[in-house]
Amino acid sequence: MVVKGIIKKGEYYDSVTLMLVARDATSLEGVKDAAVVMGTEQNKSILETSGLLLDMFKDASDSDLLIAVKAESEEAANKAFEKIEQLLKETRSKAKEAGEYMPKSLEGALEYMPDANMVIISVAGKYAGDEAMKALKHGLHVMLFSDNVPLDKEIELKKYARDNGLLVMGPDCGTAIINGAPLCFANVVERGNIGIVAASGTGLQEVSSVITNEGAGISQAIGTGGRDVKKDVGGIMFIEGMKALEEDPDTKYIVLVSKPPHPDVLKKIADLIKSEIKKPVVGIFLGGDPEVVKSAGAIPANTLEEAGLIAASLAKGKSLDEFKKILEEREKEILAIADRESKNKKEGQKYVRGLYTGGTLCDEAMLLSRQIIGEVYGNAPINPEYKLKDSWISQENTFVDLGEDEFTVGRPHPMIDFTLRNKKIVEEAKDPSVAVILLDVVLGYGSNMKPGEELAPAIKEAKDLAAKDGRNITFVASITGTDKDPQGRSKVKKQLEDVGVIVMPSNAAAAKLSSYIVKNLGGAK
């Protein structure tokens, strides 16, 4: 073990910068600990406790910046220093770059870019509504990422937008793809002739990714925010979005993605399909009755994957029967893998633990799993009787959505920050009744940029831990994303497979595989 250090004089950074820089350095291979702190006596005493105090630091003063690294080798320590220097430098240059022209208001921005046509708003909810209304009054379309926008404000905005031929995506709309551009948390998808209207962000991501991975493409993907299809808003933007796709000559097929809309809204959607929509419509209303979709005049899909596959098949000129064959093949494959994975388990290993970062994906997985293995526990279960007493402690078959408020207090969303899930992965592996750990990995802008690198060590640790006890845990994952995403789907897939993860083509397939394994092992209710 080597401990090395550097002293820098007259450089000031804020505390979070320093903590994150040190943390990034600690995550490098062979680095055990790192600290970047001002040289106060008190910090020195913590450096000492941590085994990081070097003689050279003893005379450093309060205003000197101390950098200390503990690593397995000289080489690893040097790498850590390089990384720290580079990160600190980036922080400095970023601060300088901020000098580029930034108007103080929407009006200022319009002077600079008078032909702007879209405003993305992600400021605090109580201000976001007013900013959105201002944008609409200037004739601009709006994507409202912010949540906590009051309901009456949402209705006011959407009515105004409808009357003036404008889009209001959101509030709480995490993703959209307009004219090929991924907005906020979206995947980089192929352009094509399939249009999507979605009241669920990750749902939209999963469907658009499946379509791209199948070799078809997206014309437009419009997000509406989850509240749009509830009774109060009455589906205003869902309906307007469908109309816009019907009018769009580049859209040939329309996919609808949502949790079950309020019956009033559903009726409006059905009426619209019957009266105005000439293009084929595929519908996935997660947790709803497919017959309802059918009666509304749309082709029903059972899963997000199916919705994507049907649309892609149509776009590629295949018939629905051909599509059904593909699905049957996939089902057989899943059963075969499940049989294989059920054989290498120790007595008592029989449950699945789903650790999710995407809320809609977690819902979908629970809906599919309960059909195969009965009710499952969770922090937001389908059946309220199966709500975990303590969301941090899993029991039997459990699916947790780590994006829920109780887990995200004060920290970035788990799609960005993997710390919490990595911890849970290792914890679940300690439970001798666990046979399968199921994960979603969501790529795209806004998400974690190195999911493979960050997940792999935790999975490896979990596997090793179980192996010491003679257990083999099956890791199943789905990757929502494409090869055009900055993270690259194939690359992430390979990184996960290298540590023994079974990567399935969709969340639905991953959830089914996990459930079949559990069923084989007798873990069903």
Binding site: Y12, Y13, D14, S15, V16, T17, L18, M19, A22, R23, T26, K32, D33, A34, A35, V36, V37, M38, T40, E41, Q42, N43, S45, I46, L47, T49, S50, L52, S61, D62, S63, A95, K96, A98, G99, K104, A124, V409, G410, R411, T419, L420, K423
Partner: protein
């Protein structure tokens, strides 16, 4: 000297003194430059800060009506005006004064406690994960990951508790603990002193001696930190802190929320760390006080 531009000065802190018989003039040494603030020495151990309007007033702040101060390279002072980079003049003589004294609007403890609860709830929800708020919300300890961070969190906790249990001497151990220009430990101490001041105003219990002892124990060579601790110990508050304290008597959740969020905007964790110190100390005092040793 040709002056091309005049910048508006929104306020000058009541503790800023250049003028009088020993009026200072000449170029002043800059300590540090940030986007929102430029700190410079007016004596070897005294700092005055030029700040943007978003930072707001303070006992030693000169608030300039600009959005950024990162351009500042030199500061020249000539009795009635400050000249930046030899070209931007700021008239400080006729600008309004910021009053850093705290006068509380009510001594209604129930109203105040209600305000404190609201304050705490917002803090738990909104504060940066790397702040000292883990001292209030234990779940947040999970945010500290590396061995060094864990040791740091442990020390912050044990020295803070020492002080809350009356062991004043631990102020010298808390001071300087943590990352950044104003380490977390310093900000917690700042919060402690502000709480002592507010408690004095609420109950009439004199806390001046404790505050001053605390300051003397925590003095070091970090001039920025020492400056703001000095003002807190003497009962001179920065605008954001003062606004927050006053908001606690408002009985209006929106006013409190706005004030807390503004305070949390100071530095990456400073606002949250000050808030943590304030809440820990005021609660302890109101639960029956502290026997100092």
């Amino acid at each position: 000297m040709s002056l091309s531009l005049v910048l508006k000065v929104n306020s000058v802190g009541d503790q800023v003194r250049f003028g009088g018989k020993h009026s200072l003039s000449g170029y002043f040494k800059i300590h540090s430059v940030f986007n929102n603030a430029v700190n410079f020495y007016i004596k070897r151990d005294k700092i005055v800060s030029l700040v943007t309007h978003s930072v707001g007033g303070g006992p030693n702040n000169i608030v300039i009506n600009v959005d950024s101060l990162s351009f500042v390279k030199s500061i020249y002072i000539d009795k009635s005006k400050i000249v930046l980079n030899d070209s931007f003049a700021c008239d400080i003589d006729s600008s309004p004064q910021y009053n850093s004294n705290l006068i509380i609007p009510s001594k209604n403890l129930e109203l105040f406690k209600k305000g404190l609860n609201k304050f705490e709830n917002i803090l738990r929800k909104e504060a940066s994960p790397l702040s000292a708020v883990f001292l209030i919300d234990k779940r947040r300890i999970n945010f500290f990951i590396t061995p060094f961070e864990k040791n740091l969190a442990y020390s912050l906790e044990s020295f803070s508790n020492d002080i809350l249990n009356g062991n004043l001497k631990s102020a010298s151990k808390l001071k300087g603990l943590g990352f950044g220009l104003t380490p977390q430990g310093d900000d917690i101490l700042d919060g402690f002193m502000i709480a002592l001041l507010v408690y004095e105003k609420l109950t009439g219990t004199n806390t001046e001696e404790i505050r001053k002892k605390m300051f003397n124990l925590s003095r070091g060579s970090n001039i920025i930190s020492d400056t703001f601790l000095y003002y807190a110990s003497h009962g001179f508050l920065y605008e954001r802190v003062k606004t927050l304290v006053l908001s606690l008597f408002s009985n209006d959740p929106i006013i409190i929320e706005n004030a807390v969020l503004k305070l949390l905007n100071i530095g990456e964790t400073s606002g949250a760390d000050i808030s943590t110190g304030f809440l820990l100390m005021i609660k302890k005092l109101m639960q029956g006080g502290i026997k100092w040793s």
